[in-house]
């Protein structure tokens, strides 16, 4: 479903008059309309995107300089605050919410001329790995409509796979960019923690949330990161970007002699044999290119998911406490007292997964349990970080699968939240440790795509992208 050239090519075609921003926006809006059955999109930003396209075309007509992404349409996950449409986080709580300002990531992309044409579906408040927790509808996998597109950025991944726009934005708290990218066969990048401002993105778990692009190729992801990254006054957790930037411009790395670690804990029990075949083949490709393949063991990895499902619900319960129905969000107008208004607004506005996570978070943070759960988890997190730091002393990158299985059937895991949580088992570590990680299409298991996960040390996003791009070239 290739409807677009590379982002760079699309932008240059607009700038040199081969096509126009308006033609691109109209094309994207038409494709969105034609593909409604997949449930990738929650709302369309029609008037504003046409207006912006006309403005950019007028600038070009006047011979003015335009940005690096001039006239390139994109789609944002519906937890990014945007003008021109509601921002709902796919929740009944925020249905009807019109953002008074835009997220920094969107502002930076717009400053380079990109045009946000639509908002993508997600698990409500980004809680989930399949978009089945969306309060509105489920996103279907473009490769097989009976299967999930993954989540929580499932709408974004499906949209890019369907070619609705050249790229989309997602957020990744425990795998929410990489897992849907793997399930849909596209590229999903989770940058280093703090590299992209989260100002204006609905907060899930503040110590692990990151923002990143979903694209059809690695060079596009690098370009979008280059535009979005860097310090922001509105998010004090942001860090400086690489002085070399992230755009690849054909840069090659020398895989020959590079040390690549295969994560032992991810290759064993529980990994689907067909998925394993694809990953093993990827390892062979690196080997053929001259890389030194080393088996790496991170003994605490099997505890990462337990750490994650203490730390994240704790932070979720804190972040969701702001939804009290008074200043914005769903409000029960029949409530008689303030207390009743809080309770009813929250009980009606939150879906069952949000409630579940709030309850777990409240439990692990409550007095008498704090040390046993929350503090213990954060200390095991330190252990995990130390193991990653040690591993990166001996290797340039770590590789493994993104998920133990390919995209599952819609409804297959709905009756058991723990089973659903286990899907995140190979993605959560990168978030807890804060390292960059990417999912790159590596092949098929049956008819379904499989992604290879590559991780690099913190702030080595540029090296990660170069290596991922090399792999992408070798696998083709």
């Amino acid at each position: 479903m290739v409807h677009w050239k590379s982002i760079k090519q699309e932008a240059s075609d607009v700038a040199n008059g081969t096509t126009s921003a308006l033609a691109n926006v109209n094309k994207s809006l038409k494709l969105i309309q034609d593909n409604e059955e997949f449930g990738a999109i929650i709302s369309v930003i029609k008037d504003r995107s046409i207006e912006r396209a006309k403005f950019i075309d007028a600038q070009i007509a006047k011979g003015q300089k335009v940005g690096r992404l001039a006239g390139v349409p994109f789609i944002a996950k519906d937890n990014f605050l945007t003008f021109g449409s509601e921002t709902t986080a796919a929740s009944n709580m925020l249905k009807g919410f019109n953002a008074p300002y835009q997220s920094t990531a969107i502002e930076k992309l717009e400053a380079e001329g990109a045009i946000c044409v639509a908002k993508a579906n997600l698990d409500a408040f980004a809680h989930g790995g399949s978009t089945e927790n969306s309060d509105f509808f489920v996103t279907k996998n473009p490769h097989d409509k009976t299967r999930v597109a993954g989540g929580s950025s499932g709408g974004s991944a499906a949209a890019v796979t369907l070619g609705l726009a050249p790229f989309a934005l997602g957020s990744d708290t425990g795998g929410s960019i990489r897992e849907p990218a793997s399930f849909c066969g596209v590229v999903g990048l989770k940058p280093t923690y703090g590299l992209v401002s989260r100002s204006g993105v609905v907060a899930m778990a503040s110590s692990t949330d990151v923002i990143g692009p979903i694209t059809t190729n690695v060079a596009d992801a690098a370009l979008v990161l280059d535009v979005m990254s860097g310090k922001d006054l509105l998010d004090s957790t942001t860090i400086d970007n690489d002085p070399k930037g992230y755009e690849l411009n054909g840069v090659k790395s020398n895989i020959s002699g590079m040390r690549i670690g295969v994560i032992k804990e991810y290759m064993g029990e529980g990994l689907d044999p067909e998925v394993k075949k694809v990953i093993t083949k990827s390892i062979e490709i690196f080997k053929k290119a001259g890389a030194v393949i080393v088996d790496v063991s991170l003994p605490s990895l099997p505890t990462a998911l337990a750490v994650y499902y203490i730390v994240v619900p704790a932070e979720v319960s804190s972040n969701l406490s702001r939804y009290d129905g008074q200043r914005f969000g769903h409000n029960d107008l029949n409530a008689k007292t303030l207390e009743e208004s809080y309770v009813n607004s929250r009980s009606q506005g939150f879906g069952s997964e949000a409630k579940r996570r709030i309850m777990i978070g409240t439990h692990v943070l409550s007095s008498g349990y704090y040390d046993a759960y929350y503090k213990k988890a954060q200390t095991v997190r330190t252990k995990l970080i130390n193991e990653f730091n040690n591993a990166f002393k001996g290797v340039d990158a770590l590789i493994g699968p993104v998920t133990p299985e390919v995209a599952f059937k819609i409804g297959a895991n709905s009756d058991d939240p723990l089973k659903m949580y286990l899907i995140d088992i190979m993605t959560v570590a990168a978030n807890l440790v804060g390292v960059p990680a990417i999912s790159v299409p590596a092949g098929l298991a049956g008819d379904m795509p499989v992604g290879l996960q590559i991780m690099a040390p913190q702030q080595k996003d540029r090296d990660l992208l170069i290596l991922a791009s090399e792999f992408e070239g070798l696998i083709k």
Binding site: P100, P302, Y309, S321, R346, S347, M359, H363, T379, R381
Partner: protein, 96 residues
């Protein structure tokens, strides 16, 4: 498996300002218990000599100049999502 009691679930719901139906109480009793059982894995992990990690950026004491930045957003814009208003005030229900 240690199962959370109905009273424990209701206490958590009270702390989180959530009202649960009887069915939800039963459902969360079962589900929360199995999740908490799973995270009990951590009990056996030796963490002696280690400190907890609360954030991974390594940044400390991030500050900025104490000055007003005008983002061009009016009061009216900021108030447009308020469910119940009276003029420029947010109207809430009676407290007692």
């Amino acid at each position: 498996m240690s199962k959370l009691t109905k009273e424990e679930i209701l206490k958590l719901a009270f702390l989180a300002r959530l009202k649960l139906s009887d069915d939800e109480v039963e459902k969360y009793q079962k589900e929360l218990s199995s999740i908490l059982d799973y995270v009990k894995h951590l009990d056996n992990v030796d963490v002696s000599g280690l400190e907890p990690t609360y954030q991974v950026s390594g940044l400390v004491n991030v500050s900025r100049k104490d000055q007003i930045i005008d983002y061009g957003v009016s009061n009216e814009e900021l108030l447009k999502n308020v469910p119940v208003r009276e003029g420029v005030y947010i109207k809430v229900r009676r407290m007692i």
